[in-house]
Amino acid sequence: MIGALPPHPVLASIGGAIEFIFTPQTSNVTGGKEVGGIDQVVELTLNQLELTVLALALSLVVALPVGLYLGHRGTGQLFAIAIGNAGRAVPELALIAFIAAAIGVGVLNLTIALAVLGVPPILTNAFVGIHQVDRATVDAARGMGMTEFEILRRVEVPLAIPTIFTGIRGATIAIVATATIAPLAGVLTLGDFIINQNVYGDDGVLAGAIVVALLALTLEFALAGIQRLLTPEGLMLKTT
């Protein structure tokens, strides 16, 4: 009854993982308690979704106004671009470990850590999107007597939607991916299946990976749908 597995063909592994997602399995180390199954998978997925939504909300609140403002004024370009690039250099695992050791573990602290990952793409893309709106268009709007805020709201933001959303979608993916390792800092997410191979087995590890990928894809599609709704008709590429 040793924990060794003979080499599987790929399909058999995926079959095992699918089974793990839906039906509880026995495990060597739990003393009879079963692991896996749809209830546990749903619970961990919802935890991960909750963390992602909270962190994304915080990132948006912090980064969007700053990026939009700077982009509209046309100042702080160095800062906005540098933040984006520096943000890509942040090692996620080290960030989680640092935050956990510095301010503690738990949902609140992890939200802050994940928001740190989400801010750079949102800020940079908001800046670039607004900044790249055709100056002539902005001048025309100003000439028509719109206030600065109206220009931002009615002209610049609608035209910058594709770029802004690229940033939001990038931030979401970075956040949901890193939320996978939240069990190392006090929040139970799908990473539990992946980190604890001796509890959940190879099937569990693969199942965890599959569900995380599905979660990321779902969020992508949802955001793409929202982007479509918000993009002004004139910007939509029409075929025929």
């Binding site: 060794a4 942040v90 640092f98 503690g104 006090g186 001796n198």
Partner: protein, 332 residues
């Protein structure tokens, strides 16, 4: 302008990475470490110095280990000892958890690695923790019996045994009058427990505390093993899962205390070296002999001292292993 931007980006990225690295390193170290390294107190073992046998040179061995500092130290000790005996040795430490390490031995990726008898019995062979023999020799014999069915073998155990333990701050223990784990009855509902992510489901960890002690905790929070003392110090955790070989328990014994496992939910495991029978035969008698020889000095106190050097004083496992072998008289 463009050059400035690139430079600024590089500088910012470098500063951020440096700040993070420093932050992680700083948070990993403890404030009050025992000053200076004293030589590990051993009586040199009865084996004396390891003799190099040139005939061993044609045997290639790869020594592995699991993924935490104590395991890496043990792996280094065995690797360096076998090298001193004349073998051609490579090390492949930090493989992962016990299932990964076992697969590595069975596939031939490594020649052997140090396992804990209790882990082998519960994780590989499905024993309940209360079925794990408390006697070190009995546990080893039982594990060996099962290993042999798979073409593996386990060498005799070390003097040291390591186990999970429920630990807390000394002042918490005094406040609730906690000496044994059973003393948590009735009180545990008010206390939060922190442990590694795998602890939640394991019968030799939280699942066992709930089932066999009948304890219900206010909350169980998974954290990385490396944070097990930090969460206590920061006041986030009332209780934390620690290891009996942790250096902090002797270095900071006025701060941390572990509760006695009176119902034996946490089986203690002596270290046994697991290898394939075929590998042992090919390597000759010096293989087992050398390993058993250097193990003799590995008592609980010595292991704690070595763990302290790596986890608190930030030595590498290689250095700690080398200084152990030297001061115990096995090498140099």
């Amino acid at each position: 302008m463009r050059i400035d931007q690139t430079k600024l980006r590089m500088v910012l990225a470098g500063v951020l990475a440096l700040a993070l690295a420093l932050g992680v390193a700083a948070c990993g170290s403890d404030d009050d470490t025992t000053g200076g390294s004293t030589a590990a107190e051993t009586d040199g073992g009865e084996g004396g110095a390891i003799v190099s046998n040139p005939a061993n040179g044609k045997v290639n061995l790869t020594i592995g280990s699991k993924n935490f500092p104590e395991q890496e130290i043990l792996g280094e000790i065995y690797a360096q000892a076998l090298a001193a005996a004349g073998y051609t040795v490579k090390s492949d430490l930090n493989l992962g958890s016990e299932t990964v390490a076992l697969k590595s031995v069975e596939s031939g990726a490594i020649s052997g690695y140090p396992e804990y008898a209790s882990t082998a019995l519960t994780s590989f062979f499905g024993l309940e923790p209360e079925e794990v023999p408390a006697d070190a020799t009995e546990a080893w014999e039982k594990a060996n019996e099962e290993f042999e069915k798979e073409g593996l073998t386990a060498f005799e155990p070390t003097p040291l045994a390591s186990a999970n333990a429920v630990g807390t701050l000394k002042k918490t223990a005094e406040k609730y009058e906690l000496e044994d784990v059973s003393d948590l009855e009735g009180v545990s509902k008010e206390l939060s427990l922190y442990g590694s992510p795998e602890c939640r489901q394991r019968i030799d960890c939280l699942a066992g505390l709930e089932k066999l002690y009948g304890l219900k905790f206010k909350s169980f929070n998974p954290v990385d093993i490396g944070l097990r003392y930090t969460v206590l110090e920061k006041g986030q955790a009332d209780l934390s899962i620690l290891f009996t070989t942790d250096p902090q328990l002797s270095a900071e014994s006025d701060k941390f205390v572990i509760l006695e496992d009176d119902k034996e939910v946490f089986p203690a495991g002596n270290v046994i070296f697991v290898t394939e029978k075929a590998t042992a035969e090919k390597a000759g008698p010096d293989y087992e002999k050398t390993i058993l020889q250097v193990q003799e000095g590995l008592t609980l106190e010595v292991m704690q001292e070595l763990d302290a050097r790596v986890e608190l004083e930030k030595q590498t496992p290689k250095e700690a292993a080398a200084s152990y072998l030297e001061s115990a008289g096995y090498t140099g």
